[in-house]
Symmetry: C2
Subunit: 335 residues, 2 copies
């Protein structure tokens, strides 16, 4: 079967985005190792530009278009997103000197719209439905002649996100603790598919495990039932993982990952708080779903039995502090 | 004049503590560069073990005693501190297999006592006065025969903290952005004196600037008046910077730093919030006093006019999240 991306695409992305995005460090934490019962190597992409790994895919897409079709780029890039991809694309466009048109639902928080405008992008508001988003995107595409860049179901985005795994494998080896497995969260599957291709091409013996909230377990259900299902009425604090996988991301995930595990809301909040407290990193709940699996999921512990060192991606840190602290308080034992 | 430490002591400390503490990365942030009007290279010691640079001095002290007098170490180490040094010394003792006795005021938050006990140390409570602290420390010293290790007025502690500057100079040069100046906070002066010796010995042309809260400006007053004064009734959110400098730390600071600048409470809180928001790092208010100077102090801006790249140390991240978020809310414009 032909997949949307290969290792060569990810390696090209790595060369392309070098200097435009941060090479985030890897980090370790003895306390969390003790809780997990194995060595964890963290890749904190909350320290990435715009506070999320999404900068990688967005820069790869924009810079690639700039190489192959610079005249197209002058007409700008377009996406619909109320999350980290919107900010990432806005920044990549600004740094490449091209316009960005971002379609956002009218009910998106005003701070998110302000952040996107802060990077110089034009925000187009629409009704908060998928139909309205797509119709508005079509309209803007026709009006501007710009290029629509999907948040995850796009080979350039997938290849860009795969550079997380390239770096993590290399940095863990440099540190003398090569990875036996990686744990990656799945929403639309851009990060998971990209990282899976990187890991399975370079180090086929390294296991790829996916992590998903129980409240948005469409990929878990798809893989366990053998049939793709969409995300319907997802409900989780991990609001970066609400979307369904796409026709480019899902086949890679279905065919190549080793297993997938889910965690509940309390486990996600508990893991988020541990990262703030013990690692001094501001991460959003979506980013701690992986650690929650490593700490609390018994099936994972069985599946990863031989894995001494596990690489864990923290995806982002864009969270309202007050909301996060309110979530932490829900963990306290009631009087 | 003879100073308490030399470059050789700091280099020995670096060799000694390697592998026991983290080599923290350096980080950069375009948004903060734009606000500061120059390139800032951050050394996030909140990502250090126990969440603060204090791990460096504590490990250097304990490991050094282990080398020179292992039989002394079996009788343990002692300190009085309710802050990061207590946890750091407890961890260093545990990792070296020796007892730690920590004197803490009876009104210290129970979470701080629990954290110290969590590292296996014995906590001795005393009345919350300097006299009671010192009397209790004397008693424990006589009873155990252990070694008292002052939080900052100790050459081994000062040399350990100086390794922050060794790394920062080297990492900034590796990144192709050598430092023109460093900005270091001052409380008791352990970090500032150690870093000053490192910087002025290795790169005499690099300026050393100190940062202090207006509400605890004893070092500022001492340097501007030419006469050492103690810290009397300090009052600031930067609760890691309340103490007076010591007779070992002050002479280095007095003779070798280039200048010192103060910032008010609102500036400290504003800088703290920027680090959380823009760098996704949990830092305590004391840690952001340096950034507050870089962003808001007009005298600093004049003094650092020729300094293209300034290295900034974030000292620690041990803060109650609810308290931090409550401080951030004080910045909001009243309705």
């Amino acid at each position: 079967m032909n997949y949307a991306i290969s290792l060569a695409d990810i390696q090209a992305a790595a060369r392309r985005i070098k200097g435009y995005v941060h090479r985030t460090p890897i980090m370790t934490c003895q306390t969390l190792d003790a809780l997990a019962g194995r060595h964890l190597v963290f890749k904190p992409e909350n320290l990435q530009k715009v506070g999320a790994f999404k900068a990688r895919g967005a820069f790869n897409a924009v810079l690639s278009i700039k190489e192959t079709s610079p005249e197209t780029l002058t007409r700008g890039v377009i996406t619909h997103s109320s999350g980290n991809h919107a900010q990432a694309l806005a920044l990549a466009a600004r740094d490449s000197g091209c316009p960005a048109n971002i379609i956002m639902p009218s009910n998106a928080p005003s701070v998110k719209k302000a952040a996107v405008r802060g990077y110089g992008a034009t925000v187009h508001e629409c009704e908060p439905t998928l139909e309205a988003r797509e119709a508005t995107a079509d309209k803007v595409e026709k009006a501007t002649g710009g290029v629509f860049i999907h948040p995850y179901n796009n080979p350039l985005i997938m290849a860009g996100q795969g550079t997380v795994a390239l770096e993590m494998l290399e940095q863990a080896e440099e540190a003398g603790t090569p990875l036996d497995a990686v744990l990656i969260p799945v929403g639309g599957g851009g990060l998971l598919s990209g990282c899976t291709v990187a890991v399975k091409s370079l180090r086929p013996g390294v296991k790829v495990f996916a992590a998903e909230p129980k409240g948005a377990d469409d990929t878990y259900t798809s893989l366990k039932s053998g049939e793709w299902v969409p995300s319907v009425k997802p409900d989780t604090v991990a609001d970066g993982l609400l979307t369904s996988t796409g026709d480019l991301t899902f086949p890679i995930i279905r065919d190549k990952i080793d297993d997938i595990f889910v965690v509940d809301e309390e486990e996600i909040i508990r893991a988020t708080k541990l990262v703030w407290e013990r690692m001094k990193l501001v991460v959003e709940p979506s980013a701690a779903v992986t650690l929650a699996v490593a700490l609390f999921n018994a099936d994972f512990k069985r599946a990863a039995e031989g894995c001494k060192t596990v690489g864990i991606v923290f995806t982002g840190g864009n969270v309202d502090f007050e909301r996060a602290v309110a979530l932490f308080k829900t963990l306290e034992v009631p009087q």
